[in-house]
Every structure is written in C-alpha cells, then in structure tokens.
C-alpha cells in the first residue's frame, strides 16, 4: 500500500529530475543528465506499475481511491486540497504517460545528442511529465487545472525550444494564445461548477450531478457547464475551431511532437471529458456537440492531410483527425472506447512521430516527402516500425487501431447516442486516413529515391532510438487485443476494466444485436480502409505520374486543401488583425497614451506649475520671512481668541 498511500511520489519524481537538471546540471556530462532524466521518469513508471498492483487488491468500496495530502487553498466556502485520486481511468492514463513518456525520453537521448540545449530539453521534458501526471492524478478540478496550464506552459517552452528560429517562437506564441481562448471557457465552466455545487472536488460534484435530472430540453446549467468545459477541451485537444495551433507546433523537436502533440498532452481534453462524463451524460445537447465537433474535425483534418507534402504536417493533421475520433467516441457515449482509442493512438502516433524523427535523422533534417522515396532498404528497422504503425492507424484487422476505432464507430452506429450521419462520415474518414497514411509510407519508403545521392546518405538510427520504436511497434500491434474477445461474442476486457468508472460497458447493447450485425458493422471501416490503401497504391506505386496530373486538373480543390482551407488566413483577417488594430489604435494610442499617460503627466505638470508659483514666496529676504511669521502669529491669536470667545 506504500505507493497508494504516497501517490505524490509519482508526479514528484519527474519534478525532482527537472529541478536537478535545470538548476544544478550546468556543466554535467550527457550521461549524468541522462541518468537523472531517465532515472526519475523510469522510477515514476515503476511506481505507477507498483501502484496498479496495489490497486488490484482494493475493495470495490475503496474505489475511487482518494487521498488528500494538505489543504492548498481555503478561502470562504471554497476549499481545494492537494488531493490525488486513482481509478481505472487514471491507471490507463498514468501507464500511458509514464510508459510512453519514458520511451520518448530514451529516444531523445539519441535524437537530441548533438543539440546544444540538451540539458534544457530534458529539464523541460521532465517538467512536462510532472504537470501531466498532476493532471491525470488530480482529485479536483482546481488541481487538474494546475496540470492543464502546466502542460500548456511546457508545450509553449518546447515548441519554441529552438528559440533563435522566428517561426518556432511564433508557433509557441500561437499555441499559447489559442489555448488561452479555450482555457477561458474552461475557467468559466469551473466558476459555474462551483456556483452550482459549492465545490470542485470530483466525488461530490459527480454525486450531485447524477442526482439532477437529464436536461433533455437542451439547455440548463449542466449543459452550460459541459459546453464551457468542451471549449477548454477543444483548445487543448486541437478541435475545431481551436485546432490551428497544432500543425504549427511541429516546429518543436520531433520527440516533443511525439510525446506532447500526439501521445499525451493533446489527449488531456479527451481525458477531461471522460472524467466529467457524468456532467455530459446529463446534457444530451452537449453530447451531440462533442460528437459533431469531433467527427467534423476528424473529417476536415483528414482532407487536409491528403495533400500535405511535409512529413510532420501530415502526421499533425492526422493527430487532429484521430483526436476527433476520440471526441466522437465520448460524444456518442462510448467513453471507454474514446479512452481506448486515446491509448492505442498514443502507441501508434507516438511511434509514427518517432519514426518521422528517425527518417529526418537519416535524411539530415529533410521533412519534404517529395525529396524522399525508396528509403525502405536504407533504414529497414524504421520502415518496419512505421509500417506497423500505419497498419494500426489505418484500422487493419488485428492491429490496435482496428479495435479502438471500430469500437467508436460501433457506438456511433448502435450505441445509446447513435448518430447515422456521423457514423457514415466516420467510415469515410477511415478511408481517407488509410489513404493519406499509405501515401506517406509509399512516398517516403517506396518508389524511386528522389533525394540527392551525393549530399544525403540515409543511415539507420542508433539503438537508443530504435528500441523505443520497436517497443511501440509491438504495442501498436498488440495494444488493442484487450477488445479482441468482443469480436467472438465475449466481453471487451478494456471496457470491463473501465466499467467501474463509466458504468456498464456501452457495447452491451451491441452484444444483443448479434454477431452477424457486428461483423457487418466492423466490415464497413475495414473495406473503407482497404479502398484507401488501394487508391494510395494505385496513385503512388503503380502510376506515380498521376497525382500531379490530378492536382493540375483539379487545381481549385487542390489549392483549397493544400492551403488548409485558408483557415489561418481567415482567422488572421477576422480576429487577429481587428484585435491588433484595436490594441494599437484604441488601447495603446488612445487609452494608454492619451487617457492614462495624459492624466499622469497632467498631474505632474500641474504640481510643477504650482511649485513654480509657490517658489517665489521663498525670496531669501529675512524681513519678508519675518513679516510672514508676524502675520501668522496675528492670525493664530485671532483664531484662538475667537475660539475662546
């Protein structure tokens, strides 16, 4: 019971690592920095594993396990403890964050080996782990918000890690600002929660919320709270309309993209919605909004990914798209399926990004797929792992992505919040996903080499980069087998594991529908994926001259897609520029310079003039002073006499 009693160990270890490397690490060797960074994160992972073992021995009545360590804020009736909580959902998140996080730390020792900011990088990375673990362990919204903002800060620091690059710092700023908008909604949601329930602790809030009637009319306080929380989630998890920061965030080092902008941080929004599922379940209108936003984002981002030529940009839009699936899962009531996809996505998308880093390593920093090709022979290990991840994300039967994505689509089709248009859009998006991922694979690893053989010599990455790739590849293949028995009429082990959190497995209804229907339903995404694969194969292997001709003949749609629907430009024209104009003309040049500066300067000038006048009384002539003294004395006497009389 040691770790369960001392849960704070898990987040505090990485903080210790960040502080040690950040404060004392100056001049240390790479090996020393590595030991601290990997040691603390690894211990944190082991502590999490030990905690799971202890958790298995708990009674059902002790779950969720909440442990309060000290009162952090006490003001009036408001009270926030440093309290940590463990239940099945926390365990999934905890293992993903510490496990994948550790692998990516290991990978970074190879990828960042020649970087001047080595120590700073690991310090930030450890700090991120601390905040992310605080986020998933928090037992109240206040502490969750601390982690939420903390990971945002680390995201900002790591996107702008190469701060001498203007585009990198701009991308960091953009991520920070866009998240501010979402966080504003989140904060309002928290205020409303506190007003309604008088507390922000999970247990009492959810208890009171589940006692309230379901707001079928589509409006009410729970609907308002849920929609505001959703606003926060769209910012952190890069959904419409706040997704614009994530593609730019690819300016950061690739391990950062893998860890934060694919595997863990961006899933915080999904986690938060899953954590608050009792609020959302009482607000059907909010559920529909979550599902619609998720699916529309998934489709929209997938179409953009079809034509991108930058390796990492394709993966970025793919991440947005997959996060959309997770939102869809939550929105149709299949929270455990959403979290399941979160987990498998952490495996295969983390792997894809690490593979992308390995390819960039091999190609000397090249990111443009048009200057790659035929790399499968030069970097076979990377190729094998990328192939596994691509098969997983495309939903190939037997791979992890198949189980999680299909669980979501199944719930969209026949779950309690089934939504036919969203289901078919989901199938279509599955086809698009398969197409753009195989396009990426074919352009990079197959066909003819399109790079300059004299200047680029592709070489396989060192073992400390390959080991994480292989481990994640195994997880990408096998990580979904929890749900496998479900296919054969058994129970979904993952849903059963999360059962105590989300109630009965949502797929129970589908079980009754019979396995024939199930087979038909699972077939549709697989067929869509197969079509996507065949199309990619036809266009990029069989007839590699075709894509350019198609792009020419369909130049309008092509430009729309490659310009990312010009959303950035629209935002700039509609929001950023008017804001800049108001800030410059009104707030700065009028309010600040005229009104505030004018008042302050006016007071100063008035005092100065008054002083200039009064100064003349001070003539230096003793007899004048004497006259003033006499007059004063006379006046005083008159006053005293008058008062006495």
């Amino acid at each position: 019971m040691f770790v369960l009693e001392h849960l704070w160990i898990i987040p505090l270890l990485p903080l210790l690592g960040a502080a040690t490397n950040g404060i004392f690490g100056r001049g240390w060797s790479r090996a020393a920095t590595n030991s601290v960074a990997l040691g603390t994160t690894g211990l944190s992972f082991l502590a999490a594993v030990e905690m799971v073992r202890e958790f298995a021995g708990l009674d059902a009545t002790q779950i969720p396990w909440v442990h309060s360590y000290f009162t952090w804020i006490a003001a009036g009736t408001f009270r926030a403890d440093y309290a940590l909580q463990v239940d099945a959902l926390t365990i999934v998140m905890l293992l993903v964050v510490t496990g994948v996080g550790w692998l990516i730390h290991l990978y970074s020792t190879g990828y960042m080996a020649d970087d001047a900011g080595y120590r700073r990088f690991f310090s930030y990375l450890n700090l991120f782990m601390f905040f992310m673990l605080t986020l998933v362990l928090a037992a109240n919204y206040t502490l969750l918000f601390v982690g939420w903002e903390g990971v945002g800060l680390c995201s900002y620091l790591l996107i702008g890690f190469w701060f001498l690059k203007k585009t990198a710092t701009d991308a960091g700023d953009k991520a920070f600002w866009v998240n501010r908008i979402g966080d504003f909604g989140f904060l309002l949601g928290l205020f409303l929660l506190f007003r309604q329930f008088g507390t922000l602790d999970f247990a009492p809030v959810f208890q009171s919320a589940s006692a309230m009637p379901v707001e079928t009319a589509g409006h009410g306080v729970l609907t308002a709270i849920s929609l505001l929380l959703l606003a926060g989630a769209t910012g952190k998890s890069a959904q419409i309309p706040l997704y614009v920061w994530l593609p730019d965030a690819m300016e950061g080092p690739t391990p950062v993209s893998a860890l934060m902008h694919a595997a863990t941080m961006v899933t915080a929004g999904v986690y938060m919605i899953a954590r608050s599922h009792l609020l959302f379940l009482h607000a059907p209108a909010a559920m529909t909004t979550v599902a619609t936003i998720g699916m529309v984002t998934a489709f929209f981002a997938a179409t953009i990914a079809l034509v991108q030529t930058d390796f990492k940009k394709v993966l970025a839009y793919s991440t947005i798209s997959q996060l959309g699936y997770m939102f869809l899962g939550c929105g149709v009531g299949a929270f455990s399926a959403g979290v399941f996809h979160l987990m498998t996505h952490a495996f295969f998308k983390g792997l894809l990004f690490l593979g992308a880093g390995s390819v960039m390593h091999a190609m000397g920093g090249e990111q443009d797929m048009r200057r790659m090709g035929g790399l499968a022979k030069s970097i076979p290990w990377t190729y094998g792992c990328m192939l596994a991840a691509t098969l997983a994300i495309a939903g190939t039967p037997g791979f992890s992505g198949f189980f999680s994505k299909d669980a979501i689509l199944l719930a969209a089709h026949s779950g309690p919040y089934a939504n036919a248009p969203l289901y078919w859009l989901g199938i279509l998006t599955a086809g698009l996903t398969s197409f753009y991922m195989f396009r990426l694979l074919f352009l990079t690893f197959h066909g003819q080499a399109r790079y300059d053989h004299h200047s680029v010599h592709p070489h396989e990455s060192p073992p400390n980069m390959l080991v994480p790739l292989v481990v994640l590849a195994v997880l990408s293949v096998a990580g979904g087998w929890w749900a496998a028995p479900h296919l054969f009429g058994g129970t979904d082990l993952f849903a059963r594991f999360l059962g105590p959190v989300f109630g009965v497995p949502e797929t129970a209804a589908a079980n009754q529908a019979g396995s024939e229907l199930l087979a038909a339903l699972l077939g549709a995404p697989v067929i869509a994926g197969l079509l996507g694969f065949l199309l990619a194969w036809w266009l990029y292997i069989r007839r590699p001259e075709l894509p350019d001709r198609i792009a020419e003949s369909l130049s309008g749609p092509y430009r729309l897609l490659s310009g990312k629907y010009f959303i950035d430009e629209i935002y700039a024209a509609v929001i950023v520029r008017p804001l800049l104009w108001i800030s410059t003309r009104v707030l700065w040049q009028t309010v600040d310079e005229r009104v505030i500066d004018g008042t302050v300067n006016g007071i100063a000038r008035g005092s100065e003039e008054f002083g200039e006048r009064v100064r003349r009384l001070n003539s230096g002539n003793t007899r004048t002073y004497a006259t003033w003294v006499v007059l004063g004395a006379v006046l005083l006497t008159i006053v005293l006499v008058w008062m006495a009389g």
Partner: protein, 100 residues
C-alpha cells in the same frame, strides 16, 4: 496698587514696537535689539501676572527667558560679526542666500 491692565498695556506696546522694529529696520543690530525688546515685553507680562495671581511660576519663566536671551545674544552677535566681516555691511537686505 497699579492695576494689571496698565502693565499689560505697556507690555503690548513694547512688544508692538519690537515687532515693528524687527520687520521694518534693515540694520541687523537694530533687529537684534528689537528681538530683545519683544522678549522683555513678554517678561514684563509674566511678572505682572505672577504678582497679580500670587504665583511664582511666572517669575521662574522670566529667568528662563533671560537665560535664553543671553545665549541668543552670544550666538547672534557671533553671527553678526561674521556677516559684517564677510559682507562689509550690516544690511539684512544683502543677506538673501536663504532660498532655493
């Protein structure tokens, strides 16, 4: 018995003369003498009250005033001598450095 009002009137007249001399004269020694005149006008008032009320405190105050006046005369005359040396003049109009 001379009524106290006589003494007080004399005291007021002497004090008034002192004030007028202090404000209007330019010679620093005259100003000095005007200050002494005012102090002694006050002394006169103290003594008059002391006798009229039959209390000794007034006369004690007079001694204090005389002591202060003596000290003041010592310091003041020293300053006067310095001014006279530095400026070759006793005119206070020319001593106007006491300003910003």
């Amino acid at each position: 018995m001379v009524p106290i009002s006589y003494y007080l009137t004399l005291s007021a007249i002497l004090f008034g003369l002192g004030v007028v001399g202090f404000v209007f004269k330019r010679n620093i020694i005259t100003i000095f003498m005007a200050i002494e005149l005012m102090l002694n006008a006050v002394n006169l008032a103290f003594v008059a009250f002391s006798r009229a009320l039959g209390q000794l405190q007034g006369q004690v105050f007079v001694f204090f005033v005389i002591v202060v006046a003596a000290a003041e005369a010592a310091v003041g005359l020293g300053i006067v001598i310095l001014i006279a040396r530095n400026r070759q003049s006793l005119n206070v109009e020319r001593v106007n450095l006491l300003k910003l």
